[in-house]
Amino acid sequence: MHLIQTIKRDGGLQGEGDGGLRCNLFRKERGRLRKAVTASVAVASFALLLAACSSSPTTKPVAKAKGPIKIGMITSLTGPYTPLGTNDKLGAVQEVNAINASGGVNGRKIDLIVKDDTTNPTQAVVDWKTLMSDGVVAVVGPVFSSSCMAILPDVQASKVPSINTCADDSQVTPARKYVFMTPPTTLIVGQQLLAYMKAKGITKVAVAHDTSAFGEAGWHEMKAEASKYGIHFIYDGSFSVTSTTFTSILTAVKSSGAQALMVWGAGPAEVGLTTQFRAMGLTIPLLFSHAEASMLYTKPAGAAGNGAIIASSIGGIGPFLPSSYPAKSTIMSFANTFKAKNGYYPPEFAFDAGGAVAMIAKAIEENGATPAGIDAALNHMTITTGDGTYSFSPTDHSGLTTNQVAITRDTNGTLVPTKFTKAMVG
């Protein structure tokens, strides 16, 4: 009611001129009317737009025992995380198509409903609520960490399981009800990189990390673990996700006498850092977390990236795994389909999202297509996906161990497992 009056009377600019007293009253009234019409047209067009926007039904459809099973997906198809989210979507869609082609789950097809969080946590919350009103039974969650954190309260409140594809440990430490994650945690990646350095006899290490949630978490977890591996961090420099020059960090690294440079960060900045690392004539090993384990890094880094040591989920080295390796066939069948369709080997994001779909499908097979049933099944699930073998428990919602983390070397754009990893996979 108040709003109307405001709009109606907001004649501020038009109603009152400083013309003669004679026609003031008249003009004021006219101004008011004019404003009212303007406002009503505005509100009407707004209502129309909103109606056009709400293509989804306003009533909550109850999940019925027949018809397709609705699974939601929130990912970043626009904004800075586009390259990640795009591959997430490709991976999830491929898995859904494969399941549907082989008859679906318990005889029912899967209907994947994809929402774009525009790399913005606010939009992720809107997306979550949209998916809930669409009546989905489970969700393949965001790839953008802030989006994962933003939807946490809603996930808990709606009691619908979300298998997130963001690499944020804090969402599962401690394990929260209904929240799972598919990428390896920064903790196990950090531990595996430390183990690699120890095996190489490296003890003095410099670190550069970006100030994103991922970069900060990775660095702090690695620092806390370092002493167990006899490693000392003798320099640490931070940069922003949008940084483009690293002269100062690299100069400091050069003079610090470090035996290796460890980089934690995700985004285009790491490519620039690599180019400048080589340009400055640094020859010590350059190590990256799994954020760089795809052609999204190796392609633009080009020759400069050659020789960089990059952690990767086990899926990243699929072609190099011995045929005796348990996850090999799962990885390669996913990878071959992906490569045939998209023309390149799947980056980890595709495995992460495809794996999440496989988990949901398996849970439905075991316990039926209800959120509670899926959640109960996930809490005790052991499953092999493109990222390796997960063992979830009520206290472990990540399910991977260091055995599913490979240490690779960028060899002309291909991630080739190091001897360290070859020994591990057998």
Binding site: H2, S40, A42, F46, S54, L77, K89, K129, M149, A213
Partner: protein
């Protein structure tokens, strides 16, 4: 049409619009309620920005910074167990105080130098937030923000927030309307047209500008405060420079210097971008499509709107209305004229 009929028409329109506004949260689906809240929040911010741009002739490309200051103030206080209503009230105060403090030096800058400094302020603020993690949670953000309580009443569902945000929006619109029709409002408008003229006429230009800047920041602050309780989590990612740009777009699309334009601009821009975001995500469609829609088509719509109706929706509608009633002389233009709001020179050729 007699005076009486006219008043009746106005009154009935008012009743209809009021009922629609009150009824919308009840009939909308829960995700559309979220969008409704988003539009309300944007309306609050954009009303302040429109006041600043249309009346005081100042463009701020950093309005999302004050939105962020409000959000962080309320969020940090709530996390440290302050009563949530106190935290919410502190949001506009903090944003206003910061605006006042930086406004004293910055408002000495004119035209684009001021535009630049507001943009720079936001970028600097984001860096400060990222590097004070002991307080703000840094890039990881602050989570676990408790629900808002007004006395014994918990504001928790989307519908609750829809009503809260529109109560605040109405208050903000009313304050702005009264302000623009009062003596300070006339002073501000005079200032937007010609600062030196206004100052010659005895208007304390600097002081009005500062008050206006502070008030618009306070509006953004209260919107930020509501936002943080609504979402329950904040990180610097929620306040990018592109959000500030979007607020300016809303002002211009709605119609600069018109109070209802703030609401229209916020609604039109939000709904267009929501529709575009929701299209093109279907599994069978190519993954590039969302970018084409959210960036390409959005940009095209924006360019077309501004080429066809450069004065914005409300500005153009009232111009049209004026044309149909030539007798209604109107000595004051709908748009405040400022350095940034005259016609392109190069056109003259």
């Amino acid at each position: 049409m007699s005076e009486r009929m006219r008043s009746l028409l106005v009154l009935s329109l008012a009743v209809v619009i009021g009922l629609v506004t009150l009824a919308l949260p009840l009939v909308l689906s829960s995700s559309d309620v979220e969008i409704y809240v988003t539009i309300g929040l944007a309306t609050i911010v954009v009303t302040g920005l429109s006041l600043l741009m249309g009346f005081a002739g100042q463009v701020s490309l950093g309005q999302a910074a004050f939105y962020g200051v409000g959000a962080y103030t309320a969020g940090i206080m709530a996390v440290h167990h302050w009563p949530s209503l106190v935290a919410l009230m502190a949001a506009p105060i903090a944003a206003g105080v910061i605006a006042f403090v930086i406004g004293v030096p910055l408002l000495r800058l004119k035209g684009h130098a001021l535009v630049f400094s507001t943009l720079a302020f936001q970028l600097i603020l984001l860096v400060v937030i990222e590097n004070t993690s002991f307080l703000t949670g840094g890039a990881i953000g602050l989570s676990g923000i408790p629900a808002l309580h007004v006395g014994p009443l918990a504001i928790s569902t989307g519908k609750d927030y829809a009503y809260l945000v529109w109560i605040v929006a109405v208050a903000v619109l009313l304050i702005t309307r009264n302000l623009t029709r009062s003596r300070p409002g006339r002073a501000l408008r005079a200032m937007a047209i010609t600062a030196s003229g206004a100052s010659a006429a005895g208007i304390a230009v600097e002081s009005y500008k500062l008050k206006d800047f502070t008030l618009s920041a306070a509006y953004a602050g209260i919107a930020g405060g509501i936002y943080v309780f609504f979402i329950g989590y904040i990180s610097p990612d929620a306040f990018p420079v592109t959000l500030s740009i979007e607020f300016v777009i809303m002002v211009v699309v709605g119609g600069i210097g018109t109070v209802s334009g703030a609401f229209v601009g916020a609604a039109v821009v939000t709904v267009i971008s929501q529709v575009l975001t929701s299209l093109g995500t279907s599994p069978s469609l190519p993954p590039d499509l969302p970018t084409v829609l959210s960036l390409g088509v959005y940009a095209l719509i924006l360019i077309i709107i501004l080429r066809l109706i450069p004065a914005g929706v409300v500005g153009t509608l009232s111009d049209l209305w004026k044309k149909t009633k030539p007798s209604a002389s109107n000595p004051v233009d709908t748009t405040g004229r400022s350095v940034l709001d005259s016609t392109v020179q190069a056109k003259d050729g």
